[in-house]
């Protein structure tokens, strides 16, 4: 009987009661906002943990290892070669003298970025941070390609280097020619050249030795190795 009564009420009364309640709540304070004029900054600030918005790169932490550009699914990160003066405090590209004034820093094509956060996740120095800024609109497509200067911040130097890729280079001693390219390019300077077993002109060929505690698995050494005697292997 009660069900029957409810059915009869369902013709008109029940749904109109629902809308009346909603209208009564919304009469003075609707839950929408007029977006460009009003912004819910408080809510966004409260939920900012983990959020992935506009990129910022701490130049004093970044060592220019290109890992971010390697793990990016859309290849939207390009490394820029920037010249700095003698007094620059941040990490240099290499410890080699002729490259001492050059640094590698990433720039982001925000038009192609899918905000997956892989760059920050695999960064060995935590140089990448993502802010809560999401209003990244421009009138031209080219303006969305942010150069390294546009995403630059300066926090403080990084203490730690973590291998998040979980791969280390392995040397095939037979093919190494001792060209020192890996030694020059390694962003963390974890390579020292030691005399190897093979001889050329009565001198031992110098082969790289890796300090795996400092290696970040960026595979820069593998990329620059001409004879291809370096390969990445899982730890």
């Amino acid at each position: 009987m009660a069900k029957k009564k409810r059915r009869l009420k369902g013709w008109i009364i029940q749904p109109m009661r629902f809308t009346l309640r909603e209208m009564r709540q919304a009469l003075w304070k609707p839950s929408t906002i007029l977006y460009p004029l009003e912004k819910e900054r408080d809510k966004w600030e409260a939920l900012r943990e983990n959020f992935r918005g506009h990129h910022e790169i701490d130049w004093l932490k970044c060592i220019g290892c290109r890992l971010c550009s390697r793990v990016c699914p859309n290849q939207c990160i390009t490394m820029e070669d920037i010249e700095v003066d003698e007094n620059y405090k941040g990490p240099r590209r290499s410890h080699m003298s002729e490259k001492k004034n050059r640094i590698h820093r990433p720039g982001v094509d925000i038009g192609r970025c899918l905000f997956c956060g892989n760059c920050g996740e695999y960064c060995p120095t935590d140089a990448w941070t993502q802010t809560i800024l999401v209003e990244l609109t421009e009138f031209e497509r080219d303006a969305l390609i942010y150069s390294a200067e546009q995403v630059k911040t300066e926090g403080g130097p990084s203490k730690k280097l973590i291998n998040k890729i979980l791969e280390n280079p392995k040397l095939d001693v037979e093919t190494c020619i001792g060209c020192k390219r890996c030694f020059n390019e390694c962003p963390t300077q974890c390579i020292t050249m030691i005399p190897g077993p093979k001889m050329r002109k009565d001198k031992p060929i110098e082969i790289p030795e890796f300090d795996y505690s400092k290696c970040i698995g960026c595979s820069t050494c593998c990329d620059v190795c001409k004879p291809g005697s370096l390969t990445m292997e899982e730890i």
Partner: protein, 380 residues
């Protein structure tokens, strides 16, 4: 009931003044040409002045209905269903505040200006003449209904004796235009929409008229003014006997049939935007669409006014002038219509026809019996 304006008298005075100028000029030339002064005399005769007064009054009502009132009811509807949806509704264009807390009163004006600027597209294989005339029919018939709707004892265009029949008849022309538009657009969606409109007309005209018969029985007149007069007499209970009390089932039937007549949401099958895109309106663009769209509100207001006259005692009420009471009552009815519109899902055509024939017509007949019983007992 006293009234503060007499529309007819004012219109008569204005007409007399204008005609007086014309007659003076004609009389001036009548010195040389004899028949002109005869013509001037004819112009100043009571019959012609009556006609002119009706025209001027009609124009005044049209201006009220189609401009001032229309903006108000469109604003009420848009703002109100915004609040039902828990959002703010229109807010930016408006005379007072231009922020997110503004009223947005002029939004409809802005929309209308946009629609006027738009291109009028006619489909390639459309029946052009029929396609063009359909929105015009709908717009004219909608406004024409107000000819017979009195806003007070004196504020009316024409005091027609069979006014109720005239209003119902003129509102019933629109579905014909719907079929016309649906057929002539040469589109499958519009065709289905037009035919649904025809089915709706068939099944909902009858309960609409049957529910009015009770009122006619009680009041003994077809004239809207007489109907309101009949309601203003005090009954045995000591209050004015508005017909909503004895004829409550008829009010429900009238409301439901009105929703179908106006193609409002529970019954807006001819223009179901989800399945038939916009139904018979699919091909219309620009101001043709705007005309139809606006006349929907005009018709809705006509329906609200009709309910006010038939069941809610028209312009009777204490203290305030009658016209204001009429507008307040009709706006309340309009708000209820809007509220119901946004609470229900769309019905299906077979269900809607079944509701019409199985429920509404019997209830309407019962209400006629109730009216006859009341009349016989002599309470009303």
């Amino acid at each position: 009931m006293s009234s503060w304006i007499n529309l007819y008298n004012i219109s008569y005075a204005i007409g007399e003044f204008l005609m007086g100028i014309v007659a003076a000029i004609l009389n001036f030339f009548g010195q040389w040409i004899g028949p002109l002064s005869d013509f001037a005399d004819w112009l100043m005769s009571v019959n012609v002045l009556n006609l002119v007064a009706i025209f001027i009054g009609g124009a005044a009502v049209m201006v009220f209905v189609s401009i001032i009132n229309l903006f108000i009811i469109m604003w009420i509807e848009r703002k109100m269903y915004g609040r039902i949806h828990d959002r703010r509704g229109i807010m930016l264009p408006g005379p007072w505040k231009k922020t997110h807390k503004g009223t947005g009163f002029l939004q409809n004006l802005a929309d209308g200006m946009k629609l006027i600027q738009k291109e009028l597209i006619t489909p390639k294989n459309a029946d052009k003449w029929m396609y063009d005339i359909a929105p015009a029919i709908i717009a004219t018939t909608s406004i024409l209904a107000f000819v017979a709707i009195p806003f007070s004892e004196t504020f009316y265009v024409a005091n027609i004796n069979a006014g109720l029949i005239f209003i119902l008849a003129i509102l019933a022309i629109a579905p014909l235009a719907v079929v016309l538009a649906g057929w002539s657009s040469n589109n499958k969606f519009t065709l289905i929409g037009g035919l649904r409109g025809a089915a709706l007309m068939l099944s909902y005209e009858i309960p609409l008229i049957l529910s009015v018969i009770g009122v006619i029985l009680l009041s003994g007149s077809l004239n809207p003014i007489e109907i309101v007069h009949a309601q203003q007499q005090t009954s045995v209970l000591g209050v004015e006997n508005w017909y909503i009390i004895p004829l409550f089932p008829a009010v429900i039937v009238f409301m439901v049939a009105l929703f179908a007549e106006l193609e409002r949401l529970p019954f807006d099958l001819p223009e179901a935007e989800a399945e038939l895109v916009e139904g018979w309106l699919t091909e219309y663009s620009g101001m043709r669409f705007g005309l139809v769209f606006v006349s929907k509100w005009v018709r809705t207001y006509a329906g609200a006014a009709l309910i006010t006259i038939l069941f809610l005692g028209g312009w009777s009420g204490p203290v305030l002038p009658g016209e204001l009471w009429f507008i307040i009552k009709s706006y309340i009815v309009f708000v209820i219509i809007v509220w119901a519109t946004w609470s229900f899902p769309r019905s299906r055509i077979d269900q809607i026809v079944r509701i019409g024939w199985n429920w509404l017509i019997p209830i309407a007949i019962i209400s006629i019996v109730i009216a006859a019983a009341f009349k016989w007992v002599g309470w009303f």
